[in-house]
Symmetry: C2
Subunit: 480 residues, 2 copies
């Protein structure tokens, strides 16, 4: 589709916001020209990344005892309005369907902003006995927020097209707490597969999910030093169980309220992956989610062209049998233009095969992430390519991890925090009192991200607001 329009150069990644917008367009991830603000179109290439990313999510959830399901999009107003905190959190963001055909509906229907109020009336009927627990269901759906802020593809949307939300039910508060921990680990594992290192923290109380006891969150650090929330896990206590009357029969025969958790991941997972790994030439994709994992470029001269093409096709066939997604670019473009095109698309490995390589019985492999060139003997092309994939995956993760850790700054003064959060995340002691937290946020001009789940305390220190002793440090960050 109009490839020719996209030959312009990408802005340098340093200009992150421009780079991001142009990359989504030039690499054919999203088209932003849909005629409604905050709604975007997935190009087939972008959707192929989405498909493999969500296959990873499905695999990890299925293997940990979750089951996929699907609930309706439309939530009747009376159900939606049942949980007071929840309403407060969402009422300004909900789209309402008020008409069917030319009829005005008796009960307006909300487009789900999240599905607690669609799912929990069913859980009321489904939950009977302690023997039913744990119930661990998830769905991958579109959800809606009437965003009045600046929207941005994959990051801030009016239609979140790819919301994976899990909803679990347990007997006790402690069982639900254990589920929260499992979910945080599963999300970490998902992001490890995307080569994305994460920050894990407990959100301050004033920033938790409306209706939750607490919220643990996963954030990525974007190239501009701001954090992007890419996963949240909520301990719902028995708050929703009381609202929706979800009770179970305990072993002693008593009826008790259930305890619940819910946790979500959206296409922000793809925004983070793209942003963290990409470079001035375009996408850099972890092999597992690359729609094209290997591109073979035949190096053609007049003499021996047929042999070269035959060798390329042979390599393609063999790699396909190994399950590798591989293309040959036998187009008439000059090699430089071919490189440009496939580098933009983030193809992890390029194989060049020319007459001299055939004489030596090798292919020249070029890694997208490092540019590193190496010969792979043709008889070992399958294992050679798979080893490269593993090396690329590990190296992407390690590089990103170094990048993340080098931008976490332990501070003691609020002034220092103000400076450091221009480059990344700051940590600062906090006594835990809400008024001190809010005062800090006010003075810094940025929010407390949360208390790291792996403590970053350095022994006894002082809260910079009230001076009280504390062993707790919190993350402070500019956020998306």
């Amino acid at each position: 589709m109009a490839e020719s329009e996209k030959e312009a150069a990408l802005p340098p990644k340093e200009e992150f916001s421009d780079w991001y917008n142009e990359l989504l367009w030039m690499a054919e991830i999203m088209d932003v020209r849909y005629p409604v603000k905050g709604l975007y179109v997935w190009y087939p290439f972008g959707f192929a990344i989405r498909r493999s990313t969500y296959n990873i999510i499905r695999e990890i959830l299925d293997n940990s005892g979750h089951q996929e399901t699907l609930f309706p999009l439309l939530i009747p107003e009376n159900e939606f309005m049942k949980e007071a905190e929840h309403i407060k959190g969402f009422e300004n963001e909900v789209y309402w369907v008020t008409h069917g055909g030319k009829d005005s509906l008796d009960i307006p229907l909300a487009l789900r902003p999240t599905s607690e109020t669609a799912i929990y009336p069913m859980y009321k009927m489904w939950v009977r006995s302690h023997a039913d627990f744990p119930i661990k269901l998830y769905q991958i759906v579109n959800t809606f927020r009437y965003e009045t802020k600046h929207t941005r593809p994959l990051i801030r949307l009016r239609e979140i097209t790819s919301f994976k939300e899990a909803h679990t039910v347990h007997a006790t508060w402690e069982d639900a707490e254990a589920q929260v921990k499992e979910a945080v680990e599963l999300y970490t594992e998902i992001y490890r597969r995307l080569a994305v290192p994460v920050l894990r923290s407990r959100r301050p109380d004033w920033d938790k999910f409306p209706g939750a006891d607490y919220t643990d969150a996963i954030d990525a650090m974007m190239p501009d030093g701001r954090t992007l929330q890419i996963g949240t896990v909520h301990h719902l206590g028995d708050n929703f169980a009381k609202t929706f009357d979800i009770k179970y029969e305990a072993p002693d025969g008593e009826q008790r309220y259930a305890h619940q958790t819910c946790y979500g991941i959206s296409e922000r997972s793809i925004a983070a992956t793209i942003s963290i790994h990409g470079d001035d030439k375009g996408l850099v994709l972890p092999p597992e989610i690359a729609p094209v994992q290997v591109v073979i470029i035949p190096i053609i001269f007049k003499k021996g062209a047929e042999e070269v093409l035959a060798a390329c096709r042979d390599v393609q066939e063999r790699l396909k049998k190994t399950g590798v997604k591989v293309e040959i670019d036998a187009s008439d473009l000059r090699p430089g233009a071919k490189y440009y095109r496939w580098e933009m698309k983030g193809v992890p490995l390029r194989l060049e095969i020319g007459p001299r390589d055939l004489e030596n019985n090798v292919a020249v492999s070029v890694r997208r992430d490092t540019g590193e060139k190496e010969q792979i003997p043709l008889p070992e092309i399958e294992t050679g390519v798979l080893q490269k994939f593993e090396a690329i995956q590990n190296s992407l993760y390690e590089k990103a991890k170094v990048g993340l850790e080098s931008r976490i700054f332990d501070c003691t003064e609020l002034e220092e925090v103000k400076e450091k959060i221009q480059k990344g995340v700051a940590t600062i002691p906090w006594c835990g009192k809400k008024e001190c937290g809010l005062a800090m946020e006010d003075r810094i001009g940025a929010g407390i991200l949360g208390i790291p789940l792996t403590p970053r305390g350095k022994g006894k220190e002082k809260c910079p607001v009230c001076g009280a002793e504390t062993e707790t440090r919190v993350y402070v960050a500019r956020t998306y």
Copy 2:
């Protein structure tokens, strides 16, 4: 979830409507208790069938050059209202979003009933040159119809949760016609994988898709003799191209309007599969879409229980490695209750292993579709099971095909048609004139389904209304 509530017997399949509703509940396909009419909840078991069914659809589309994509759900009123015929066809069925939070929206947003008006404004920008063709995109999405008729799970819905819609663009009318033919073949292939034989016909002009030149359709015959439309393929000519200004540069340098097709399949595919194959005991699933393909029942006596369980686990492991979805039912239920439970869920093959079987080094296989018992030597259990799957798949299809063909009745009189359509589909000569068609429908009290794509004419016959000679016969049927 509350298995115990579901021990009641299924109504006999002869009472199809009751059987269908009870089966969806007892086999845990859909829960109909969601508090909005026409919206239903997928149970995890039902969703697993949905997942494998749509994997087949994806595979067949991907392998024929289609690419998956995703467009927004919300369509602005001004785009939706562009195509006059299209509006007439849908205006009474569209849900409208009129509010975001507490704000009234400037432009109301339609929930897509189908996505022509969401996709074609983008096609206007994407289509440039004849070299771009064919464009063959599809998406699997939720769509919405404000149904005022009686709703029914999987069949007549207010939220169609699983609408696969393809939208293609071509240079000429003939290219689009060829695409319609390809789509009909692909749909036939999809249904062959579901062991569902189909009727293929061209809808009469008054029953085509609003805005199309013509509509070819695929119908299944349900157990009560009514047909269920389970796939439609529309030749859009250049009608939408003119409305949405979709032009391409032809090889001669001229700007010409493109020609388009679109075609869709929904979760009715699952309704048909379940209805056609199921029996008085519950689901009967083609192996490829069964969430559990094999259930192993250990036949336990006091003596040798450990050996039997070990053998069952060994068989399970080996089958898993072959890619078979296999469960062991080692619960305390009596064998009869286990059979009941897994038969209800449509598990294609049951393997029973007891001490005597171990002595003979065999498992006893029991087919869900025929009840046929046979010994499979344990050393050959993998190939034995896969052969059974193939036999089951073929036999389901053949049985359904005989069932379909035995209920197509060639008639010459309208009175005969009236009688035969109580049992199935009738064919009757038709001269092709609209007034004769409508008169026939009126006298029969049922609709013309369409002109069979494979002609069923019997030489020169007479139109029962006007007496004109014709070689065309049409299907007449009671429809869902």
